[in-house]
């Protein structure tokens, strides 16, 4: 199963339609989609509007690979499971986001070898051909260091 998610809020018709239309030509196996407020109604795949966190985690764990918007929550979840991820960043020009931060996020994580990046349907088709042989580079983050910095600040607030 291939998991398509565009987050649970703003619509992303361009990505959902692109995947739906590529299912036959790219010979994709079963696709399951979380489409949020997207208006486009998929014809060739099962879809839901939102998934609970538990269901999301279960579908993600079962997926062969993932296609999503460039939300850092989704990117982090996929990376932590080592799932190959194809990302299409939302663009302000198409009314998909309030700014283009997803474009630069996608490019940065793509350049680091963590994800594959497609900016349009044509590039998505290319990525779908590449994803079988793509192994995401694991990411090393430092949540403990950041927590320690915050905790050190909180400790300065306690009266001696």
């Amino acid at each position: 199963m291939i998991f398509l998610t565009v987050g649970s809020s703003l619509p992303f018709d361009r990505l959902v339609a692109a995947v739906d239309e590529l299912i036959a030509p790219a010979k994709l196996d079963e696709v399951f989609a979380q489409i949020g407020d997207t208006l486009y109604r998929p014809q060739k795949m099962r879809w839901v509007q939102t998934l609970s966190k538990n269901d999301f985690d279960r579908v993600l764990a079962d997926a062969r690979f993932v296609i999503s918007h460039a939300g850092v929550g989704t990117i982090a979840s996929a990376l932590s499971l080592g799932k190959p991820l194809i990302v299409m960043p939302r663009q302000r020009a198409f009314g998909e986001a309030v700014n283009d931060h997803q474009v630069s996020t996608a490019e940065r994580f793509g350049a680091a070898g963590h994800i594959l990046v497609a900016h349009d349907a044509q590039q998505l088709a290319t990525c779908l051909a590449q994803v079988v042989s793509f192994t995401p580079k694991p990411r090393s983050a430092q949540p403990r260091a950041v927590s320690q910095r915050v905790a050190a600040f909180l400790n300065t607030l306690v009266d001696p």
Binding site: S52, V72, A76, R144, V146
Partner: protein, 160 residues
């Protein structure tokens, strides 16, 4: 040595109000939960479904809104003002976006110390909220080293 040194330390636990919008912002906020150990942490976000992740801490849901939705932003601001005046936090911390911006400004007005951690999704430049609110925050962090400046934001690592 004064009398104080012989008395037991009855320090009130600091109350931390942790605020974020949904998706990646919330994921990043939770990566810093350990920093709040020893404090009383209260969470505010936009999705009721996140509550089990921080139980048994107090948890508030507010409406979500982007810069496109001025009415929604006003509603959000009023709701946050009500929560902050009820909770009277010692510290307000946020990873963004709009809810964090309002919470830091309102919390600051009521004497809380403030912490802003700019989302990792802001790669090229700090978020709009971050640019506006960071300079007022008592601790201001970025998750990309190249965005750090001598007077803040500071870089202490990336949470994801």
């Amino acid at each position: 040595m004064g009398l104080k040194d012989f008395l037991p330390q009855y320090r009130r636990r600091s109350r931390v109000l942790a605020v974020s919008s949904g998706g990646g912002h919330w994921v990043q906020l939770l990566r810093m939960m350990h920093a709040f150990e020893g404090c009383e942490a209260v969470y505010v976000t936009v999705n009721r479904a996140y509550e089990p992740q921080v139980a048994p801490n107090r948890f508030y849901v507010i409406n979500d809104a982007t810069a496109w939705d001025k009415v929604g932003l006003v509603r959000m601001g009023l709701r946050l003002a009500a929560i902050i005046s009820k909770e009277r936090p010692d510290v307000v911390i946020s990873t963004g976006a709009a809810p964090g911006f309002f919470a830091l400004r309102l919390g600051g007005l009521l004497g809380a110390r403030t912490i802003w951690i700019d989302s990792i999704a802001n790669v090229e430049q700090l978020s709009r909220s971050g640019q506006k609110v960071g300079a007022f925050a008592d601790l201001w962090l970025t998750q990309w080293p190249e965005l750090a400046r001598p007077n803040g934001p500071f870089f202490a690592g990336a949470v994801l």
